[in-house]
Symmetry: C3
Subunit: 292 residues, 3 copies
């Protein structure tokens, strides 16, 4: 496929194929498969996990990454987003990985003649994050059909929540949301947090975005931790096979307690490992032309 | 050759050889030719095109780039330019690509024992930009002799204008300058802009440097656009075979209108593609020791 | 070995083996020996020499470096040091090179399942700097036993001084310190600077850290230069075979005069060249599993 911008444009079969490919990548089947392909990484928003995970994926595939640093660029001379991306296309490289603050930024550039991979657009999509969440679930349960997940926290601002719920429902999962009233969004099934802890197969926590809400947030961090924070008392009430996920970065002592981060049920760092694999798969189906 | 610092030090034959080499690079003849050579990129001024274009050229040649980020360096501890460059030489690497704000910064370091490629010195030279302009013209017309070019805009601050006019005249081109009175410089042939539009083979626009001139600029941006901006009315008056060039970044709606940027006569993004090729050629004749 | 964090954890034999390995690296014996190993470079403090020297070492070994830029990372979202490093471990990469401002930062992370190389911890250790100093001395004199060195300057804040003296004494060298009273530290042998100049085999200068001391420093820069600055008059009083070292960056005109920096006795830039070799060796004994 030419680009991978949003999972909404992919069928359930295509998504499963990408996950298959990620599992092949885990076995080392595609190491150095894209030797000498040059790929640009353009992160217009700060990022650790997504940026360096894509970077690791590229290196494992034998690609040659070109890392754009917005701070030392002509953006400082007023150059536009479109003109910057069109410049990279003109270099004659294979593709580009982009994160930008604007929703659906990709509409203006998707006609360009190279592969575009969306690493997050504003409060829109974050396809590589959803794919790594799906891979983590599939490796855990071997299926999606009938699994129950609650996504807990700031649903309204979260591209992870939006992207995940849409695709998880298509895959036959039952999705719930939980968290303080101020963060809820219509159209989703709400569930009480303590009920969710006892009944779900997956508890997916979201980050409380301190930096955006400090003054406006009605719930204090202490109240948040008491009412929606995952602590060991709550973990002990989860089903035996149930797991904990979080897209990270997380706030220890707010939505998750210290001793929960690396507890037996936590898959938080496994998600990061899986992130490299799905990003390899994304590069393979776009730049690599691998069928899916 | 050891270094490539200014086209003034190259004969017309050497320049033509570098362009020949760039055309060979276009055919893939030199891909991975400089495998395992380590090259440092030191940009002390912001840059998108030149920096990432050199980077792409290096990767296509199979080189291993080392990208210096001034922000996280010992320049913050007061280390001098000379000592920074001498440090890179001591690493035992093959060469260095440098952009710096000071005219002829290279005089103090050219005795060092590695290859130095100038990626722009203050208001002085910008040899890779001139070479890509020349390659674009040669690919278009197959020759330089007798071609007429007008360079339009802020001539006085432009290293592109200075470097280009010197070498284009040596290659037999007829060079004119145009633009507001405040930007003109003695010693060049002035031509009225609308006359230039009708008579030139090449119209090369320069960027209005908003950020430097905001307060001091006598001509308003609106007046500039009306009197010296390239719009479709003017494009339609150009000769059939004539082309539009711009070193970019450009200001849409100031020196160039939106619909002109990617019109049939525009070679703006072709120039960027050619930039990678000439930079490969520059690395080949220096680090690679290819004769020219 | 798993990690290389402080020379205090290495025996004299292990240190000599690492230096042997560095000499093999000089002969090109290990070029591309660690092909395809991915290594992260995380510098939370500014650095030119150490950062790009490790980077050069990695490239010569054929490794694939991942360069973490703290400025564009989730540290801005409040992510902790531990969680950042644990994230890199989860990527499934071979190792990580870290410089951080906190003494013994590595205690919290050394259980992680990848190789950790310390590139400097606060006022603690700087093992790669000590190793390059040792390599420079060994290449000069062929031995350590009985050599006399004076380290001159801000002993109290210098991780170079602390790390060096501990290991040099174990190797049989006789270590002295010199410099203004305000910088001295108990437990070291003090020597008058002009006496040191005449009697030592090695004069190792330290940087006066302008940026930290500007207001607090009791000695003026002029007085410092007069009393402890190495000028050609003093150089001429040094023993015939004696050499000058400095970890750099240096302040010309303060602890070292302009004409001394590249004089015959100076090994300052040789040290930088040796730095690449010892860092290759460090990567070989950790990531590469080479015995020592």
């Amino acid at each position: 496929m030419k680009d991978l911008l949003t999972l909404k444009e992919l069928s359930v079969d295509e998504i499963q194929s990408i996950l298959d490919l990620a599992l092949d990548c885990e076995k080392g089947k595609y190491d150095n498969f894209l030797k000498d392909e040059i790929i640009a990484n353009c992160f217009f928003e700060p990022s650790t996990r997504t940026q360096y995970s894509f970077n690791t994926a590229e290196l494992r595939l034998g690609m040659k990454p070109l890392s754009f640093n917005p701070a030392g660029s002509s953006l400082n001379k007023g150059e536009s987003f479109y003109d910057t991306i069109k410049t990279f296309e003109s270099f004659g490289i294979s593709g580009i990985v982009i994160r930008d603050v604007h929703d659906r930024y990709y509409e203006d550039i998707r006609h360009l003649d190279f592969h575009i991979l969306n690493a997050g657009d504003g409060a829109g999509d974050h396809p590589s994050q959803s794919l790594l969440d799906l891979l983590t679930i599939r490796k855990e349960y071997g299926k999606f059909e009938g699994l129950k997940i609650a996504i807990v926290g700031d649903i309204s601002h979260s591209r992870v929540a939006h992207t995940n719920i849409e695709v998880m429902e298509r895959l036959g999962m039952e999705c719930f949301v939980s968290g303080p009233e101020e963060y809820r969004e219509e159209g989703y099934n709400f569930i009480d947090f303590d009920k969710a802890v006892e009944e779900m197969d997956i508890i997916m926590l979201l980050r409380v975005q301190h930096e955006r809400h400090k003054e406006k947030m009605k719930t204090s961090l202490e109240d948040y931790n008491r009412d929606y924070g995952l602590n060991m008392d709550r973990v002990n009430k989860m089903k035996d096979h149930a797991i904990i996920m979080h897209p990270a970065p997380f706030n220890r002592g707010v939505e998750i307690n210290d001793d929960v981060v690396e507890c037996d049920k936590s898959r938080i760092f496994t998600q990061i490992t899986n992130g490299v694999l799905v990003r390899m798969a994304m590069l393979l189906v776009t730049v690599g032309g691998v069928k899916c």
